[in-house]
Assembly symmetry: C2
Homo-oligomer: 312 residues x 2
C-alpha cells in the first residue's frame, strides 16, 4: 500500500527513507514477529478450543506489530544481536492485543469492527471475549518471564516493566479516564494523561524492554525511554487525526466515531492543524534525543517518521 | 463463628484440631495476609481513584485468604522460615480476586452478591469491573516477579507457575467449560475438567509456589503439588455441596443458584451423598501423600480438614 503522508514531516528529518524502503523494512520485521507468534501461540484445537480460537483470532488479525518491532529496533540500537528482545517483544504484543479485545467490549468502547473484521465479542460472544483477553494477558506475562533479564537488571525486569506499563497506573488507568472523559468538557491536561497512559507507556515499555534485553547502560536506557514515550504520544495523536479525517475502508472501523461518541481526542481539544503540529513535535523530540545520544540507529529514526506518516 | 461440619471427617484424621484451634490458626494467618495486602495495595485515592477504589473493594471484601495461607503453610512444611512465600502468596490472592470480579460480570455468572456484598460491577459499573479485574491480574504478576525464585528454580518460576495455573489451560479454561456446560447433560469427565482447571490448579500453584519459595527438592515439590491439587478438588466439591444445602445468609450469595442455572456441579452429576464422600476421599489422598512423605506439617493437615468442614 502506498504511504500518503497525513502530516508534513519537518525537513530536519534528513534520514527519512522513501515510502517503499520503510514498507519493506516493516514488512520484513512484521513477518519475523508473525512467524514467532505462529510458532508459540497454543494451537486452535487445544482444549477448550473456543478460547484458543478466540485468542488466535485476535492475535492474527492483521496487526502492524509496531510495539515488538520497536522493541527489537531499540535492542539493536543498544547493541543487542539476534533475537535477544524477541520474547519481550512478543509479550508486549499479546498485552496490547488483550487491551484491544477488552476495549472493544459493549460495556467499553462497544466496537463491532477492528481492522475491518468483526471484533472478538461479535464472533465468540462477550463471555469468551472477556476470557480470551484475560488469557492473552496471562500469556503475555508467561512469555515475559521466560527469559531472565541480563545484568545489571533484576531477572524479573521484563515482567515488572510490562506490568507497570499495563496496570492501573498505566494502560488500564488511561482507559478508565478515557471512558470517564466521554462527553465532558475538553481538557488538555486530561487528554495528555489519557494519551500517555493509554498508549505511550506501552510504547515506552517496548523500547525500555529492548534496551534491557541488550543490557543497556543507564544513558542508553534513558534515551530509549524518552524516545519511546514521545513516539507513543505522536502515535496516539496520529490515531486521533486518522479517526477524524480518514475513511472506514482505510482505518478498518467507522471513521469519525470518536467525534460521534464525544471522545476526548487531540482533535477535539486542539483542532486538526495543531494536532498535526504536536505529533510532528513529539517525533522531532524523539529523534533529537537519539541523535544527541548513543542510539541513533536508522530503524528507530525511520520508525519515528512512519508513526506520523501511516495511513492505517 | 462456630464450625458445623458439613461432612463427616473419616477417623483416620487423628491429627484434627478442634474447631476453635483451627479458627484461631486461620484468623492469625488471615491477619498476616491482610496486613501485607493493606501495606502493598495502591492507595484508594491514587489517580484514577475509581479503579483503585474498585481494586481495593474486591481485595478487601472478607476473603478467607485460603490460597496465600496454603502457600505459606506449604513453604513452612518444606522448611522455609519467615516470609519467603509471602509475596508469591499475595500474588495468588490477587489473581484469584481478579477471576472472581470477572466471573461475577453480567456476561458470565451474572452475580450481584459476593460474600454478602454487592459485586464490583454493581458498585462501579461493568467497564470499571472489567478494568479492575484486568489491573488486579497485572498487579498479581508484578508481585509474582518482585522476588526471584531461589535455585534450583528459574528466577521467573513464580510468574511461570502462576501464569500456567491461571491461563487458557488453567483457570480461564475451566471457566470457559463451566459456562459452556450450563444446561448440558451432566458428564463426570467435564465436571472433573472444570473442577481441576477452574479451582484446583490455583490451589496447586499455591502449594507449589510455597515449595519453590522454600527451595524444595523434587520429592517435596511433588508431594506438595499432589496435596494442593487434591485439596483444590475437595474445596470445589465442598463449594458445590454448600451451594446446594446452605442458606444465603451463610454463603453470602443466593443458595441453590447453581441448580437454578443448571450449572454442572458435583451434586448434579453425583448426588449429595456421593459428593460428600468424594470430597472426603480427596482430602484423605492429600493428607496421606503428606504423611507418607517429608511435608506432614500440622498446618497443612489441619487445612485439609478445614476445606471440607467449612460452612462459608
Amino acid at each position: 500500500m502506498e504511504v500518503s503522508p497525513i502530516l508534513l514531516v519537518p525537513d530536519f528529518n534528513a534520514h527519512i527513507l522513501n515510502s517503499v524502503e520503510i514498507e519493506t523494512y516493516l514488512d520484513e520485521q512484521r513477518a519475523r514477529v508473525d512467524a514467532a507468534l505462529k510458532a508459540r501461540m497454543p494451537a486452535e484445537d487445544t482444549r477448550p478450543d473456543v478460547i484458543h480460537k478466540a485468542m488466535c483470532y485476535s492475535v492474527f488479525n492483521g496487526g502492524k506489530r509496531l510495539r515488538p518491532i520497536l522493541c527489537l529496533a531499540a535492542a539493536e540500537a543498544a547493541g543487542a544481536a539476534g533475537d535477544a528482545a524477541l520474547m519481550p517483544g512478543l509479550a508486549i504484543e499479546l498485552l496490547h492485543t488483550y487491551t484491544l479485545v477488552h476495549d472493544d467490549l459493549p460495556c467499553m468502547d462497544d466496537d463491532d469492527l477492528r481492522r475491518g473484521q468483526p471484533t472478538s465479542h461479535v464472533v465468540f460472544g462477550q463471555a469468551n471475549a472477556v476470557l480470551a483477553g484475560d488469557a492473552l494477558q496471562t500469556l503475555a506475562f508467561e512469555w515475559a518471564a521466560e527469559q531472565p533479564a541480563p545484568g545489571p537488571y533484576a531477572p524479573g525486569a521484563f515482567v515488572t516493566e510490562l506490568a507497570q506499563a499495563a496496570g492501573s497506573q498505566g494502560v488500564v488507568g488511561g482507559q478508565v479516564e478515557d471512558l470517564a472523559a466521554e462527553g465532558t468538557r475538553p481538557s488538555a491536561e486530561t487528554l495528555y494523561y489519557i494519551h500517555k497512559h493509554k498508549t505511550a507507556l506501552l510504547f515506552r515499555a517496548a523500547t525500555r524492554m529492548g534496551a534491557i534485553a541488550a543490557g543497556a547502560g543507564e544513558k542508553a536506557l534513558a534515551e530509549l525511554d524518552e524516545y519511546g514515550l514521545n513516539i507513543g504520544l505522536a502515535f496516539q495523536i496520529a490515531d486521533d487525526v486518522l479517526n477524524a479525517t480518514s475513511t472506514a475502508a482505510v482505518i478498518g472501523k467507522p471513521a469519525g466515531s470518536d467525534a460521534e461518541r464525544e471522545k476526548l481526542t487531540c482533535v477535539a481539544v486542539h483542532g486538526l492543524d495543531r494536532s498535526r503540529e504536536m505529533a510532528a513535535q513529539f517525533v522531532q523530540t524523539a529523534t533529537q534525543v537519539l541523535k544527541a545520544g548513543d542510539c541513533a540507529a536508522e530503524p528507530l529514526l525511520n520508525l519515528a517518521d512512519y508513526i506520523i506518516q501511516r495511513t492505517h
